[in-house]
């Protein structure tokens, strides 16, 4: 493809490439841009900031090569970029910068389609997010970088008063507006309170996958939602501030104040910290980094870093997500263009 083969010409300016001319080599405009899902953001953002920092070979904290069986004297970004023939940057700068935008999966994919970003982060598959023709969808190239076992979280008060585990059906009833009071929930022992069901913005991957995985379709109605927040972080804060809230979000944002609960699907109980990341967990979902019309070398250099054991261990796992199995990792790596050395 055009972008892929020309390698260095990819830039973030999108449609009007001739506007700013061919400037793949220089530092600012040659940046690799990604954007979209706030679920994927912790992964790509971490990777991008380490990339931008470009730690030298002896930086054990950020560039622990031996641990992953890599041996090089190159700086981190120089090393990964060199796999696709990029020269090391000046003065310890990475060969090119990576900037990660934050919005929602749908937005990231649309921007990717319009050429406004190079990589579209998404926490739901493109066909669930975009209403587009098959041929159009085929132009999106899917790279799965990790797996989110989407948790259901509740306010601390609820957690301490019996809501440590819910049946999937109860959650469904809450979000479809059939359960309005916590007293209607089995096992709840606290004072009677209304349910505050928190949702993510329509159009976010989290919302789409929750509807698809919990309610059966990405378009399913959720009349029970009481408030909607734009990003995972806001959801976490809202749940933390309340004592009657329940929410779905990304695993990375779970904390002491925003505890995840166990879910029972048809008799199987998935417990956070135990088997939530199991393959069978119905709310688990792949985290995607889409590229458009093939994968350019710049994109490949960055994605390859994330898809190696190093990236999985350094970026995906610390963010709280499940890493890819070795076989999936190999499969994903094989989708990237051949390295040039």
């Amino acid at each position: 493809t055009d972008n892929g083969s020309s390698g260095e010409t990819t830039d973030g300016d999108g449609g009007n490439n001739d506007d700013t001319g061919n400037n793949g080599g220089n530092d600012s405009s040659g940046a690799l841009t990604a954007g979209g899902s706030s679920t994927v953001y912790p992964i790509t953002n971490k990777a991008a900031s380490v990339w931008g920092y470009n730690p030298p070979a002896d930086d054990k904290e950020y560039w622990p090569q031996e641990k992953y069986g890599i041996s090089t004297d190159k700086n981190l970004a120089d090393y990964w970029a060199s796999k696709y023939g990029f020269e090391a940057g000046k003065d310890g700068q990475p060969p090119f910068n990576v900037s990660i935008g934050l919005s929602h999966s749908g937005v990231g994919l649309t921007k990717l389609q319009k050429g406004q970003v190079d990589i579209g982060d998404a926490s739901a598959p493109v066909d669930a997010e975009l209403d587009a023709s098959k041929s159009e969808l085929e132009k999106f190239k899917n790279h799965v970088v990790g797996v989110d076992a989407q948790p259901i979280v509740v306010s601390k008060y609820l957690y301490e008063n019996g809501v440590k585990k819910l049946k999937a059906d109860t959650v469904r009833k809450i979000y479809t507006g059939k359960i309005k009071k916590w007293s209607e929930v089995d096992g709840y022992t606290g004072k009677d309170m209304e349910v505050q069901a928190i949702g993510r913005s329509v159009g976010s991957g989290t919302d789409t996958s929750f509807r698809a995985n919990m309610l059966g379709s990405g378009d399913a109605k959720m009349p029970g939602v009481d408030i909607r927040k734009g990003e995972n972080q806001e959801v976490a804060k809202a749940v933390g501030n309340a004592n009657n809230a329940i929410a779905y979000m990304a695993l990375a944002f779970v904390s002491k104040d925003v505890p995840a609960i166990a879910l029972n699907f048809d008799g199987t109980t998935y417990e956070p910290g135990k088997n939530l990341s199991d393959k069978g967990y119905p709310l688990s979902r792949d985290l995607h980094c889409y590229t458009y019309e093939g994968t350019s070398k710049k994109e490949a250099a960055f994605l390859r870093m994330i898809l190696t054991e190093f990236g999985q261990g350094q970026f995906v796992d610390p963010a709280g997500y499940a890493t890819l199995s070795d076989s999936r990792r190999k499969e994903e790596l094989s989708k990237l263009p051949e390295t040039t050395n």
Partner: protein, 515 residues
Amino acid sequence: MSEAYSQDSEIVTETGVLGQLATVPFVLALGMILLGGALLFQWVSLTTTVAGVSVATVFGGLHVVIALSLFALGALSWQGSVDTTPSPSVSSVVAFIDGSIAAVISGLVVSQTFGLGWFAWIPAALVAGVAVFVGTLLLREDIGVTVPVGIFELVFGLVVLTGVIGSGWSWTPEGFSATFPGFIAIAILGLFGGLLTAWSSAAAYRGFGARGREFGAYVLISINTAILLFILARIILFIVQKGLDPMLKGATLWPPAIPFITNGNGLQYDINGIFPAVVGTIWLVIGAICFAVPLGVGAAVYLTEYAEQGRFTSIVEIATNGLWSTPSIIFGLFGYAFLVPRLGNTPSLLAGQVVLGAMLLPLVLITSRESLQNVPDEYRDASAALGVNQWETIKSVVLPAAIPGVLTGVILGVGRIAGETAPILLILVQDPFPSEAPKVLSSFTLQATPPFVVNDALLQPASALPYQLFAVITAGVSAPESVGWATALVLLIVVMSFYVVGIAMRIYFRRKLQQ
């Protein structure tokens, strides 16, 4: 002296005993207002004890003591043992307020305490309201001002003292999702009763009559303003308290360094900072000024100096005032629909500059126009009488004289746009926590194809201080709450300094003009 002048001692009236007596409920009322505020802010709780007495009891006691002293004031004045000048009746406004309070109280009692429906509480409220309204109207002013308030205070006091409303009490009004706990109810009764008492005892202080009413009104208005100013101070102080420490984290006096302000966000920094946003804001402001000042001042010159007052000028006036009041988010929408597709199809600094410039434009125009109009016509006449043409006059006399006003307007306007988030949400930002600031100066390049001069930094996304705060709220994975407070503090400092400079300049130049 002729008989027409018989009542001549009247021009002298003394603030007598009543004045001193009235200070008692007045001071207590102020105390109750403060205490009510403290309760709302949760600086004290109902169960806090002061000298062995719980705050709730203190409230009840204050109400009752106030009630008794108000009765005393009324009685003394009625009896004529002190020198007062009450009108024969209270004003209908006072009667109406008393009636409304009575209506609310009885309505609430009937509906909430006895749990009766609208068929009961509406008539009850009406009857009580009308009765108190008419009753108050029939009273002489001194009684009408003190006694009803005293009765309300007595009721409030008894309700609190007897624990009918206390820390365990709560009330969920029908149809509302809120539940009012006892401490809020008591605080509100305290504030409300305090204001009523302050007014009533202030009127008594001046012996009722016109002067009493004046003092009563002034006391209420002054308390209102004091509360406003308190809230302002509280907001600012709160942000300083919360934000100062994180802002100064790692700061050193010598060499002077505040890493939070001079660092970007990234692993290369020990302390993550908001430098890119600071720089972004600076460039936004510069760009907006470059866009708005020539346009605004030029249009102001045309409108004041050249144009004849007519349809065109009134269209422009409507347009500028319309622009001025257009919600900022609409500028953002416009920028997204119109500018972004034309400026490289990506959020960019340039788009932000133009949009903020468009927001700044009307303010610059309005204030420039005002200050051009304030340039005395004498200067123009003097110049014209010397045979100097209009443009030279404008250039050499009118504009220089108007510059202070224009400058003030620009500074205040910049203060406003520098704090705007809504318009830049869609058109400026990509990365919520950038590590590098836009390098505008070093990015100018020439090229052979149109548009010949390009500046990549201008066409790239950037960040800005107010957005940075928004990012903490929405995307704070990499930024703890304290970073938000620190950012808020920096933003406040930046915006407020524009305002302080602008307001100070305006005061200074106005004063100079008056001399």
